[in-house]
Symmetry: C2
Subunit: 587 residues, 2 copies
C-alpha cells in the first residue's frame, strides 16, 4: 500500500514576474512539505503567469523562464525540499527542454500523439522539479484558439504524453484544454493505465462554469479510471478573472475535495493506492450567485490595479446606478479612501441625482468633488452651436476630459462605468462616458447591475461588511472602510428610471426597449449568437428584434472603428505586438 499526499497550491501569479511567481511557489512548497506532502501542484504557466500572449515570442523571456525553473529546483533542494515533486507550469520550446531538462527514469514517453513542425516555437509546458533538477516535462497538446484564447497562434503543440512514477504510483499529467477535447493525451493515458490524472489549469471565470468543469472532470476520471486533480489558478490578469475552485473527483465521479473560489489556497488530497475509493476531504461551499459575480468583478479590478501599480481610481458619479455600483466595487477592491468620485452636473442634472451621488460617496468613504460642466458647455457652444445628439455627446466628452485630468493629475486609474446593455446598443459616447482604462461592469447587463446592487446592500445591511467578501489580500488587513450596517448604494439610485440626463426629461426607454426585455434579446443575440429567425422563434416581437439588431450592429461597427490607435494602414505589415497589459517582465 502506498499513500501519497498531493498539495493543491491554488496561487495568484502575475504575468512576466518570474521572481515573484517563483518565490510564491517556494513559499507554498515549504508549507506543503511541513504538512508531509510528496507532490505539490501549481497552476498552468505558474512561473511565467498566464496568459503571456506575445511575450512567448521573446527569446530573452523564454531563456529567463528556463533559468528560473532550474534555479527554483536548486533552491528547493538546498532548503532540504529536494525530495518533493514540485509541478509547475512555464513556457518551453519544441525540441528543447529549456536548460537541459532530462527525462528521468520516472517518466515514460508514450509516443507521438500529435505532430509539430516548428523547431523553435514556444510551448505551454509543465515541468517537474525534483532533487534539484527539472526531471520531466510535458507540453500542452490541444491549443485552444477560440473565444479569449489564441494559443495556436503562439504555441507549438506537444508531441508526447507523460506519466510520473512515484513509489509505483503512476501519475498522468495534462494541461487545461487537454481534458476538454476528446482523444489526444488523455485517451492515450487511459489506454496505458494510470493511478491519478493530474491537470493544471488557467481556466477563466464564467457564470456556471463550476458545474461545467465538474461534469467534464467526472467524465475524464471515469475514462482513465482514476481520481482526477483539477488545479486552477486564481486572480485577475488583464481582462480575465481566474476563479480558482480547484477540486478532486474520484474515479466514480464523487467530489472529494474543493478549494474556495477567488482566493489563494493550499488544500490536500491523500491518495491511497490500496483503495478503489478515496476518502472525502474538505469541500468548500459554493457562494450565492450574486456574491460570486460581484466578487469576480472586485477581484478583477483589485488585481489589475495591484499588478499595474495603481493605488487609486477616479470616476464620474452621476447619481445613477452604474457609477454607484462601480464605486462600491472600487471601494471593496482598494478602500473608499482611494476612490475619487467626481460629480459633473449639467443644466439637465436633477437635484435627486446630485444628492444620490453625494450619498454614495459618503457611504463608501470616497473623495468627492463637484465640477459643474455648464460653463464649459457654454464656452464650446459659443462657437460650435451643436444640437441633438452632437450636443449630448459634447456634454459627455467634457466630462471625459475632466475625468482624464484627474487621472493625469493624481495618477489615478480612470474607471468607465458603462454596463453591457448600453454599450452593446451604442447608448454611450465615444471619448465621453466610455473614457477609462478599466470598465468593471462592462460585461454586466443592466438587470444584473440592479441585482448586484441590491445584493451589495443586503450584505451591508447584514453587517457582513467588506471583510466578509473574502477578497484575496484582505486577510492582511482589510483595505476597505468598515461599513456600518445599512444601505451602501442609495435606494433612489436603484429604483429610479434610468436616464443619461443629457436633455430635459430624457429616459433610457426613449431610445431603448425596457431593460427587462432588452437584456433577454441581447443575451440571445450576443451570447447565444441567435440570428433574426432564431430570435423570432424565441418569441420576441419583430419590432424589438429589428431595433436591437440594428442598434447592436451599428454599435459594433462604431466600436471597431474607434479603438485608440485608430487604424493601421498596411505599410508595416503585421499587427501590433499583442503583449499583456500586466507584465512585470523587462528585458
Amino acid at each position: 500500500m502506498t499513500r501519497i499526499r498531493f498539495a493543491l497550491a491554488q496561487i495568484d501569479t502575475c504575468v512576466g514576474d518570474l521572481a515573484k511567481n517563483a518565490s510564491s511557489v517556494l513559499e507554498f512548497a515549504r508549507v506543503a512539505a511541513q504538512r508531509h506532502s510528496q507532490v505539490v501542484v501549481f497552476p498552468e504557466m505558474t512561473l511565467t503567469g498566464y496568459p503571456i500572449e506575445d511575450l512567448a515570442f521573446r527569446a530573452t523571456f523564454r531563456k529567463a523562464a528556463a533559468d528560473k525553473a532550474e534555479q527554483l529546483a536548486q533552491t528547493l533542494d538546498s532548503e532540504g525540499l529536494g525530495g518533493l515533486y514540485v509541478i509547475v507550469g512555464t513556457v518551453g520550446s519544441v525540441n528543447g527542454g529549456g536548460n537541459g531538462a532530462e527525462q528521468a527514469d520516472a517518466v515514460e514517453r508514450l509516443g507521438v500523439v500529435g505532430g509539430s513542425g516548428d523547431s523553435d516555437k514556444p510551448t505551454n509546458r509543465l515541468v517537474v522539479l525534483h532533487d534539484g533538477k527539472v526531471v520531466a516535462d510535458y507540453d500542452k497538446h490541444f491549443l485552444p484558439n477560440y473565444g479569449v484564447f489564441d494559443e495556436f497562434r503562439i504555441f507549438a503543440a506537444g508531441d508526447h504524453s507523460a506519466v510520473l512514477d512515484i513509489e509505483g504510483v503512476k501519475i498522468g499529467v495534462a494541461i487545461c484544454e487537454d481534458i476538454w477535447q476528446d482523444g489526444g493525451p488523455v485517451a492515450r493515458l487511459a489506454d496505458r493505465g494510470i493511478d491519478v490524472l493530474l491537470t493544471i489549469n488557467g481556466s477563466p471565470y464564467e457564470e456556471g462554469k463550476t458545474h461545467t468543469r465538474f461534469e467534464l472532470a467526472r467524465r475524464r476520471a471515469k475514462e482513465v479510471n482514476a481520481p482526477l486533480i483539477y488545479l486552477n489558478q486564481v486572480g485577475g490578469q488583464d481582462d480575465l478573472v481566474f476563479d480558482g475552485g480547484s477540486f478532486v473527483v474520484d474515479r466514480d465521479g464523487t467530489l472529494i475535495e474543493r478549494s474556495p473560489m477567488f482566493m489563494e489556497d493550499l488544500s490536500y488530497f491523500d491518495f491511497d493506492s490500496s483503495s478503489t475509493r478515496q476518502p472525502v476531504g474538505t469541500v468548500a461551499p459554493l457562494r450565492d450567485p450574486d456574491e460570486e459575480i460581484y466578487t469576480a468583478c472586485v477581484l478583477g479590478l483589485k488585481d489589475y490595479m495591484a499588478k499595474n501599480r495603481f493605488t487609486g481610481v477616479v470616476l464620474g458619479l452621476s447619481g445613477g446606478i452604474d457609477s454607484a455600483l462601480v464605486a462600491a466595487m472600487a471601494a471593496d477592491a482598494v478602500g473608499g479612501a482611494n476612490v475619487y468620485g467626481v460629480s459633473m452636473p449639467s443644466m439637465y442634472s436633477s437635484d435627486g441625482s446630485k444628492d444620490d451621488a453625494a450619498d454614495l460617496a459618503r457611504n463608501i468613504g470616497a473623495h468627492y468633488d463637484i465640477q459643474p460642466i455648464e460653463p464649459l458647455f457654454k464656452a464650446f457652444q459659443t462657437r460650435l452651436k451643436l444640437d441633438g445628439v452632437a450636443a449630448e455627446n459634447l456634454q459627455a466628452r467634457i466630462r471625459g476630459v475632466i475625468v482624464m485630468a484627474y487621472s493625469n493629475l493624481k495618477n489615478l486609474l480612470a474607471l468607465a462605468t458603462g454596463n453591457k446593455s448600453e454599450l452593446a446598443c451604442g447608448y454611450s459616447t465615444i471619448y465621453g462616458d466610455a473614457v477609462g482604462g478599466y470598465a468593471p461592469i462592462k460585461d454586466l447587463l443592466k438587470t444584473r447591475v440592479w441585482e448586484l446592487s441590491r445584493w451589495r446592500n443586503r450584505a451591508a445591511a447584514a453587517g457582513v461588511g467588506i471583510g466578509g467578501l473574502q477578497i484575496v489580500g484582505n486577510e492582511n488587513g482589510s483595505t476597505g472602510v468598515p461599513l456600518k450596517a445599512g444601505v451602501m448604494i442609495p435606494v433612489a439610485s436603484i429604483e429610479k428610471a434610468p436616464s443619461a440626463e443629457l436633455r430635459p426629461g430624457q429616459k433610457d426607454s426613449d431610445s431603448l426597449p425596457e431593460y427587462a426585455l432588452l437584456d433577454k434579446v441581447l443575451e440571445a443575440y450576443i451570447e447565444k449568437a441567435h440570428g433574426r429567425a432564431d430570435l423570432l422563434r424565441d418569441g420576441f416581437d419583430e419590432k424589438t428584434v429589428d431595433t436591437v439588431m440594428r442598434l447592436v450592429d451599428r454599435a459594433e461597427w462604431k466600436r471597431r472603428q474607434y479603438p485608440l490607435g485608430p487604424k493601421v494602414t498596411a505599410l508595416a505589415f503585421g499587427r501590433d505586438r499583442r503583449l499583456p497589459i500586466t507584465s512585470a517582465f523587462r528585458e
Copy 2:
C-alpha cells in the same frame, strides 16, 4: 496542341457584399469571354470579400454565399457564358459543398493531405463555375495564424488537392498560404504532374513584398515544373491594403505577365501546351518606391470611406507636416472639397504654423475653419489648474472634442494624424490628437512622412496631378481637384523643426532622440524584434536604446489599457465578436 487563354481578373471586392461582388465577377467574365478566354480567375474569397473574420461563423452568411455561387453559375450560363471556367473564392463548409456542389469528372481528388475534425466549420474555398453549376471545389489547406492573419481560428483546413482538366490540360489549384508553406497540396501536385499551377490570393501590401512574392512563385513554378498564375486582390479592406500586382511566371522562373498595382485590372495569359516556354506578355512597370507607398495609403483611405459610406473627412490642421500629409492624401482620395481642415491654435501656436495650415488648405482646396482653443483652455483651467503634461494633454483633448463635434455634425470621418514614430513612443495624447476613426499615416515613420511629402510636391510640380496616381476609380472621373503645377505641401511644414506646440518653445527633440536616429532604432526594435543586446550590437548607444525601449514599452502598455470599450471583466466569457468594420452583409 492545346491553347488556353486565362483571364486574370484582379478585382476590388467588399466584405459581405455578395451582390456587388458577384456582379463584378459577371462584368469581368463578360469581357474575358469577348476576348476569347476559356478560364477567368478571381481573387481569394471573391464572393464574400476578404478577410471576413467572424462573419464566417454566421450560418445565414454561409448559406447566402453558397446560394450566390449557384445563382452566379446559372446567370453566367443563361448569358451564354456557361462554357467559361470561372474560378472564384468563397466561404465553404467542411463535409459539404454548399448547396450540393458536385465534383465533376474534370476533377481528380488526390487524397488526404491534412486532417480536420470539425464537421461544421467554415472553410476558405475555391469553386469552379461551369455549365451553370458549381462543378468543383478546393478548400485552403494551410491557414495562416500569424501577423494580421487569424485563419486557423476561423477556418477548418481542407483535406484534398484538386486538379481541373480542361481539354487535357491539367490545372492544379492552391489558395494563398498554400504556396508559402513547403509540403502540402503543392508538393502533392508536383508529384502528380500538372500543366499549370493557379493560385488565388488575398495578399496584403507590404513594402518590398512584390519581390518576395516573385521569388516564392519562381520556386514553386520550378517545383511543379509548370507556369504559375498568381492572382491577387486589390483594394482597401479595414486595416489592410491589397496591392494587386498579379503575375505569371513560367516554369523556368521567367516573369511573363504582371498586372499593375493598386487598380482593378483584366490581363491575359495564353498557355500553349505544345511549348515548354510560354511567350512573354504585358509586364506592368513597377512604381517609384515613394509613389508606391503614397498610393497604398490613399487607396486604403479611399476604399475605407467608400465601403463604409463616408463622403468627407475632418482633421485638425496644425501647420505641421503630419496633418499636412494626411490632408493631401485625403484630397487625393476623395477630393479637396470633401476635406474639412480645422485650425485650432492655442497661445503657444506660432504665426508660421497658422499660415502653413491655411496655405495647405488653400493648396488642396479644402474647407478651412479656425477654432481658437485658448478661451476653452482657460474655462477648464479656472477649476482644474493643471500644469505640466496634464495641461498639455488638456489642450490636445479640447482639440479632440472639437474634431469629434465636426464629425458628429456633418457625418465626417475623423482622421487621426499621428505618425508611427510618435505613436510608438507615446508622444501623443489619448483622447486628444489620437482621436479619429482612421489614421492614414499610423504606419509611417516620421522620416518617411518627410520623404512622401517631398515626393508629393515633386509630383505636383511636375504637373502629374492627382490623375497620375492612377487610383482605382479615378478613370471614372477624377475625384480630386486639378492641381496647378507647383508646391502642394508648404515647404515650411517640411523643413521646420517638429513641435507639438503645447508649451512655449517646445520641440519634439526635447523628449525624443532626433528622428533620423529614432526611426532606425524603432525599425530594429519593433519590426525586427531586436532585444536590448541586439540593439547594442546593431551599434546604437546605450542611452538611446534604453530611452527608446522605455518609451515604446510604456506606450504599448498605455495603448493596451485604453482601447475604446476599455476592458472586459470575465463574466461573459469570450471576447467580443471580431467582425469586419467594413461589411455590407445584413442578416
